[in-house]
């Protein structure tokens, strides 16, 4: 192994792209180096459910051949990991569940297809909370994911396998999905950059549905610049997803070159109320000062219904999930109970054995809120509150370009700390859920450390404002090096 390829894992995506195009190393060398690293470190992190060694090596060889032939897309030869919620043809897609322990998808998700078409190389599938239901990546049937900054702690969730893998430099970029904060919160807890685009910006086709009106695919990377590169490939209308929006995709990479001067940054009064760790608050305030020092104008904004976002979310999301997960019935695919006595027994045992406790809790909650006699009081009321929350953001964005605050109330918590208390766990997403309810884009960027654990700055923009959001994050990262910090055991 050459001297340059020994530290390939240390390079972020954009740098690797430059190295590949200069011919400093081949896609095969890069892939081999990272596969070796995964082999070495995955045991301590449990970030991967599946490592696709053979497929990755074959794809790397194709990428090198394409490059030699003067072909290949913008991501040619660049490694990536997909959250195990994205369907990948001929490869296991478990969604972190026993229900899909043996499920091999017959097709590729649109996100997977677009990234592969651009030349990205899939190294494997990342671990996650079961069916993306969780904020700690502990509800996976395949065991909890560990945080590279402290393996006794959670990397956040539900995209914790992706955040841990990127933080530990096992892969430069990973896909994730965000229903209530599942990209941004794990990014914050692992010192990585996590982008959740506007609802409808990226196709949901082939992404196993949790809560269809909230789910959105995005990325976890080492920098906003890398996220811009990937989003340009993933975004855009997909005729297979009616909720994807038919609107041009800007050149996000070109958009990074903007300035913070005159950008109106809204600081949410309610974000700094009780509940936010004071050291995290200090780190976030310091980040805001950095933005201000570059000419950004800080304004206080009000999101009066913010405290209703968690309860609203925990009606809407379970309602949709209770219906979305009905297809897992043991009839056509997934786990099927042995020797069922009759149809009811087949259903009850297949689902009883296949789903974990958190998934069952949400299916039951969702079934309840949609039931005759309860629908108006819960589901309908939640939809009304959801509208109020959207209106709050709309009003706020009349005066500001971006809303800034903490991504999560605390740094990474210990594994097992919150598993017995679902409500405390749910409150971990208090700052991120609003963007999902309103369909807004959000990004989390590293902005400091508390007791050696990373803290995230959360930026939310108006619909389809990914370009300016990425620009703000990128400009911030030009002035800080929090995002370049690497956990000691994984340098």
């Amino acid at each position: 192994m050459s001297a340059s390829s020994r530290d390939l894992h240390a390079q972020p995506l954009t740098q690797l792209a430059a190295g590949l195009s200069r011919g400093d190393f081949s896609a095969l060398e890069l892939t081999q180096a990272l596969l070796a690293r995964i082999e070495r470190h995955n045991g301590s992190l449990n970030a991967f459910v599946t490592v696709t060694v053979d497929e990755a090596l074959a794809a790397a060889k194709r990428a090198d051949a394409d490059r030699a032939a003067g072909k290949g897309g913008v991501l040619n030869g660049l490694p990536i990991v997909h959250k195990d919620i994205f369907c990948t043809r001929d490869v296991l897609t478990t969604c972190g569940s026993r229900m899909l322990e043996n499920f091999v998808s017959p097709y590729d998700a649109t996100v997977v297809e677009r990234l592969a078409d651009a030349g990205a190389i899939m190294l494997g599938k990342s671990n996650m909370d079961e069916f993306a239901m969780g904020s700690s990546s502990e509800t996976s049937y395949f065991g909890p994911v560990r945080n590279p900054w402290d393996t006794e702690r959670s990397p956040g969730g539900s995209s914790g396998g992706s955040s841990a893998a990127v933080a530990a430099r096992l892969v430069p970029a990973a896909t994730g999905t965000d229903t209530g904060g599942s990209i941004r919160q794990p990014a914050a807890l692992t010192g990585t950059t996590g982008l959740k685009p506007t609802y409808g910006r990226v196709s949901r086709y082939g992404m196993i549905a949790f809560a269809s009106s909230l789910d959105q695919a995005g990325v976890i990377t080492r920098s906003a610049g890398d996220a811009a590169l990937l989003l340009g490939v993933m975004a855009g209308f997909d005729e297979r997803d009616s909720t994807s929006v038919d609107r041009p995709v800007p050149d996000y990479v070109a958009g990074l070159a903007g300035s913070l001067k005159g950008v109106r940054v809204g600081v949410v009064r309610q974000h700094f109320d009780a509940g936010l760790d004071e050291h995290c608050a200090a780190a976030v305030r310091e980040a805001l000062a950095v933005l201000e020092s570059q000419g950004a104008i800080l304004t206080e904004v009000d999101l009066p219904n913010l405290d209703l976002s968690v309860p609203t979310y925990y009606v809407v999301a379970p309602a949709e999930c209770s219906s979305n997960l009905s297809r897992f019935d043991g009839v056509r695919f997934g786990h099927r109970a042995d020797d069922p006595e009759d149809l009811m027994d087949l259903y009850c045992r297949s689902r009883g054995e296949g789903f974990g406790a958190e998934v069952k809790r949400r299916i039951m909650t969702g079934t309840y809120v949609l039931s005759a006699g309860y629908y108006d009081a819960y589901y309908l009321k939640a939809q009304q509150v959801r509208q109020l929350i959207s209106d709050d953001f709309r009003h706020a964005f009349a005066d500001v370009d971006v809303i800034a605050g903490p991504t999560a109330p605390t740094p990474a918590f210990k594994l097992g700390d919150k598993t017995d208390d679902p409500v405390t766990m749910y409150l971990n997403d208090i700052y991120t859920i609003g963007a999902n309810l309103a369909g807004l884009p959000g990004i989390s960027v590293p902005c400091g450390f508390v007791d050696g654990l990373p803290v995230g700055l959360h930026l939310v923009g108006p619909h389809f404002a990914e370009e300016s959001l990425l620009c703000c994050a990128h400009q911030y990262q030009q002035l800080t090096d929090w995002h370049e910090q690497c956990p000691g055991d994984y340098r």
Binding site: E239, D329, L343
Partner: protein
């Protein structure tokens, strides 16, 4: 029917829309393929797949709505109806609950006195069909065939305005005619493209409040609808007259035993937990779109019937028969265009011999063995006296058997009518000479014997003599005998 009780019926008709692909996927909808060969990943409810609305179903639903004078919703939404069943792949059916695409329609039937009676159409909504469970072919196992899963259905719900099984059938036939006129459904009941559930209740005549209803399922022929309703009405009246109470429940009609059987009670009914489907956007329909669809509507059965009465001077009953099927009406008009004969004669032939032959051989008008122009050719030969009406039936059968046009058959079989007066006179003379006794009786005043002589002459000519001419010649010659 018991005069003390009033019957109240509302129908829910499921009509399969004749799209090439399914309502939310690109898989084909053709009937009768090998199990599970016409179901794609979306129809199978695979993880991660999403429904995409086939816009053709919107056009078809709009057509129907306009044809029954209904309101087309500017904004309609799809909802999920949640329940578990092995042939329901997603664990929910995509349907419409609030904001259906069609509301507040109507059509008119004839009441017992022959007056127009308005039947309200509450709504018509779009939904996907489920697959089929196959229980017969596998030992102790059930098979699932998902070919039908995702086939588009339009569910047409009437107001409880129907007052008898006869009215229900009339209404159902009318809907059946309309959907086929519009070309939005083949209406094939054997294949399940047109099926019906009936909500049936009875109440003491004069009472405003509705009685407790039962919902009859699985009514896949007009005859079964009538029989099931009549059975159910009788059952409910018997319960009430015995002092009992009708239980709200779903009942299945068993055509083998001609009875309805309880399937599930209200308490056992599913809570379907409907909610708007977040995978599909609301359907927005513009006024322009509605106008474009309106312009594309064909002439509808009621209008066509009136026109037939007005333009062709047909009897209303005949016009109704001819317009019950758009292809039959087209056939009639084409034949009328090609014929010099009286249009009523054409109508009689279509309603009479042609329909009888089609029924006998189980053939639809679309596959009719005699082209409209050829039927006109036959009627014209009657009209111009080339053949008699009686011979025409023979020519018709030959045409039906594929032996050629009327002219060809008449030529080949030598069926041309004898109109040569000299020839007829010769035969008449021969017949009179051969039956001196009858001639004598006629002479003595038994005028009815003219029929006997006509018959004999026709026998002699193989039916080819012109009957009017034979009559004239006979009367003249026998008359002369009488004068002598």
């Amino acid at each position: 029917m018991n005069a003390a009780w009033e019957v109240v019926i509302g129908l829910e008709i499921h009509t399969q829309l004749a799209t090439r692909s399914k309502i939310f996927s690109g898989a084909p909808t053709a009937y009768g393929a090998e199990p599970n060969t016409q179901a794609c990943l979306v129809d199978l409810g695979y993880p991660g797949v999403l429904p995409v609305l086939n816009e053709e179903v919107i056009r078809m639903a709009c057509k129907f709505g306009l044809a029954v004078n209904a309101t087309i919703a500017k904004r309609s939404i799809f909802a999920r109806k949640n329940y578990f069943y092995p042939d329901l792949p997603k664990g929910y059916q995509i349907s419409q609950l609030e904001l259906p695409i069609v509301e507040h329609g109507e059509l008119f039937i004839k009441d017992a006195d022959g007056n127009d009676k308005r039947i309200g159409i509450t709504r018509a909504h779009l939904e996907e069909d489920a697959g089929k469970s196959v229980h017969e072919r596998f030992d102790r196992h059930s098979g699932i065939d998902l070919n039908r899963a995702g086939t588009p259905l339009l569910e047409i719900v009437s107001e409880p305005d129907l007052r008898s099984a006869k009215e229900a059938i009339q209404y159902m036939r009318k809907i059946h005619t309309i959907v086929r006129y519009l070309g939005i459904s083949d209406g094939n009941m054997q294949e399940g493209s047109f099926r019906c559930d009936a909500n049936v209740s009875v109440r003491p005549r004069g009472q405003q409040e509705l009685g407790t209803r039962s919902e009859l399922k699985n009514l896949n022929s007009f005859r079964f609808v009538e029989k099931a309703i009549n059975f159910e009405v009788k059952r409910q009246i018997e319960i009430l007259e015995d002092g009992g109470k009708v239980v709200q429940e779903t009942r299945l009609y068993d055509s083998d035993r001609d009875e309805t059987r309880a399937m599930r009670s209200k308490e056992e009914a599913n809570d379907y937990r409907y909610f708007p489907d977040p995978d599909l956007l609301p359907v927005a329909i513009s006024d322009d779109y509605i106008e474009t669809v309106r312009k594309s509507l064909p002439e509808l059965p009621d209008a066509k019937q009136q026109r037939f009465v007005g333009d062709y001077a047909l009897k209303p009953g005949d016009a109704a028969i001819l317009t019950a099927n758009r292809l039959l009406a087209d056939y009639f008009e084409e034949a009328a265009r090609h014929s010099d004969a009286e249009v009523r004669l054409i109508a009689n032939w279509i309603i009479g011999d042609l329909s009888a032959a089609m029924n006998r051989d189980g053939i639809d008008i679309g596959d009719c063995r005699i082209a409209a122009a050829d039927l006109a050719g036959l009627v014209d030969r009657i009209h111009d006296n080339t053949i008699s009406g009686k011979i025409a039936k023979e020519v018709f059968e030959a045409m039906w058997a594929g032996e050629g046009t009327a002219d060809e058959v008449i030529e080949t079989k030598g069926l041309r009518q004898i109109t040569d007066s000299a020839a007829i006179e010769t035969i008449v003379d021969k017949v009179i000479a051969a039956h001196p006794n009858q001639a004598a009786d006629y002479k003595a005043g038994k005028n009815k014997l003219i029929g006997f002589f006509v018959g004999e002459v026709m026998k002699e000519t193989g039916g080819k003599a012109n009957p009017a001419q034979v009559n004239d010649v006979l009367r003249s010659k026998l008359g002369k005998l009488a004068d002598q």
